[in-house]
Symmetry: C2
């Protein structure tokens, strides 16, 4: 291990505390075991096959991906891949069908068009592809709107000769509430989900898999009746947004961006070299105009971002950094920040302990 | 040229209309000639040496960069490089000093600490580095706050044996006004700048270079008395923000992101596969919650962004896209979007005509 390396490396740089990663994975593994849920982490957060391998070793039963590129990379370490994204377009389908034959592939979709294209591609490739019908349970992004639409689509899947109907999926990305307020929202979601499950079951289309789950709702997943599988992504790293809704504590944040203070001329402020190009310009769940906080000094907020500048607000601290001082920032949204870097630098007991290339970026 | 390639390529993809680029460069070249201004475009917008070469061929006298990586890449096509960023940190300085010896290097800085480090590095490398003292004219990001601070810093530069005092620089990124309201803001800025120029001149530190300029203020640069050089970046491509303040017209937008419609289940909305990972989540200058508009259909706005989803608001159009349809989005902020892609696909007369690798990303 190389303590000084953190002082010498080019900033901004993405850091991952592997001790915290281990603890985060143990915690979610224990939770899913306790509640009889399957765990299929979303790998878009880290985009790194070595970290998917850690999740599988900790008890994950498969992985979730958002892009074909992520599927291609994660297929090198896992034989059970869910593409939680409509597989629309020739290029997507061609590359999906070219995944290694031993990969059990499941795809989420919400339209007859996507279904038709996938069925044709699967038949031409001589491949069986599982399908989950995507439901909209209130996020209003993708997903069928009614139990009737779900039945129609699931029925068509069951008739598609290259396809296998495996169940339903949803994403409650709109539930960004403090843990104490989450209970009633989760029960409401559970009731809405039940209408879909009942209608499908009554039509002979009982969903074998009911897949949901996000990091903010992670620890209340057992409130959703009928859920069989969860797909938290951010949980491996956590971030300021996860802290803000109580889904983790500050000392469970495993991801940070190492930065250097480059200017202190404006009173009450220090400028670091981690801007939107390193942290990602993502609003907070519970505030606006704040993009991150210092690791170990959460009262120091990143209040403004240009591409190469992060503005630290010093109004709540007596700390006055010097030009050249190094700091670590926990961004609001870890996934979006990771996507901006080529490399994850790994820490063990606080010291540099290696690096992983972030190989599943792009599309 | 290959018309069909646009229909087949993986989406999202970054497109550059080279005919529009040519016209944009001709327009700014004519403006700077007319007003006797030097033109040093900021290459952070495109991060692509081939496009810097086009700018130089059109009449640019040098380039501006924000990172050492950009300096390294642009030094392969240009011998006059301004690093408009404080060169703080060992790694930055070591790599800067390793730029090819024929590169005339100038650096902007605002602190004695940055100055001391740079002087030491320059002397050790046996290199002369030019310095521009960075002023804060109201943006409150970086820059010395008063004429007295500017004199103190410029005086120290003049005494640094590895350095050469070349003048002053500022960035008015806070002036994001419609062209018709820009006049008085520019005059105010001009007056504030004059106090710095006068004080420096009275102290025997007359700035040879006075460098400013952004795309929103580009066409009023001649209102700023004493300005010798402008550094617009976005102007080569333009974007929705540049349109929103009247710095360009829609048909001067040369950059767009090709995307595929992947879902239309939510009424009044269509989902495309260009999300924050392709467009960048940057608020508009003149509105919030909007992240881009369709090329050729500016009434269709991108109203929500997840990492892989862009939500098109169909409330102002009778157009109803089908799943699989391809569209082109002009993002709010071109630079931030370009930084998310590996490749710029080039168009001539609307058809695919080649591609450039975006090689100056990262740090």
């Amino acid at each position: 291990m190389d303590v000084d390396r953190l002082d010498m490396m080019t900033t901004p740089a993405a850091l991952v505390d592997l001790d915290r990663v281990d603890a985060n994975l143990r915690r979610v593994a224990a939770y899913t075991r306790q509640h009889g849920l399957r765990w299929r982490p979303h790998t878009k957060t880290h985009k790194t096959p070595e970290l998917a391998r850690l999740q599988l070793a900790a008890g994950a039963q498969g992985v979730t991906v958002a892009t074909v590129r992520e599927a291609e990379v994660m297929a090198t370490v896992c034989d059970d891949v869910l593409l939680a994204y409509p597989p629309v377009g020739e290029d997507r389908l061609t590359r999906l069908m070219a995944l290694p034959p031993q990969v059990r592939l499941t795809v989420a979709l919400d339209s007859g068009e996507a279904l038709g294209m996938l069925d044709r591609a699967a038949r031409m490739a001589g491949r069986t592809v599982g399908v989950l019908v995507e439901l909209d349970l209130g996020m209003r992004r993708v997903g069928v709107q009614s139990p009737e639409d779900a039945i129609a689509l699931a029925g068509n899947v069951a008739f598609g000769s290259g396809l296998e109907y495996r169940g339903i999926t949803f994403y409650a990305g709109h539930l960004r509430l403090p843990q104490e307020k989450l209970g009633s929202a989760m029960r409401e979601q559970s009731e809405r989900l039940a209408t879909f499950i009942e209608a499908l079951t009554d039509s002979g289309l009982r969903p074998g898999t009911v897949s949901g789950g996000s990091t903010p709702t992670l620890w209340r997943s057992h409130d959703v009746t009928g859920l069989t599988e969860i797909r938290p992504g951010i949980n491996i790293f956590n971030d300021r947004n996860a802290v803000s809704v109580g889904a983790c504590a500050w000392d469970e944040c495993a991801y940070s961006v190492l930065a250097t203070v480059v200017s202190t001329t404006v009173p009450g402020q220090a400028v670091i070299d981690a801007g939107s190009k390193a942290l990602a310009k993502e609003e907070g769940f519970t505030d606006t105009g704040v993009y991150g906080a210092l690791l170990g000094k959460p009262e120091v907020l990143v209040r403004g971002l240009s591409e190469e500048h992060g503005l630290l607000d010093l109004s709540n601290t007596s700390w006055r950094p010097y030009v050249g001082e190094r700091v670590r920032v926990v961004p609001n949204h870890a996934c979006a920040s990771v996507n901006l870097h080529d490399t994850l630098h790994l820490l063990r007991q606080g010291a540099w302990a290696g690096q992983y290339a972030i190989t599943a970026r792009g599309w």
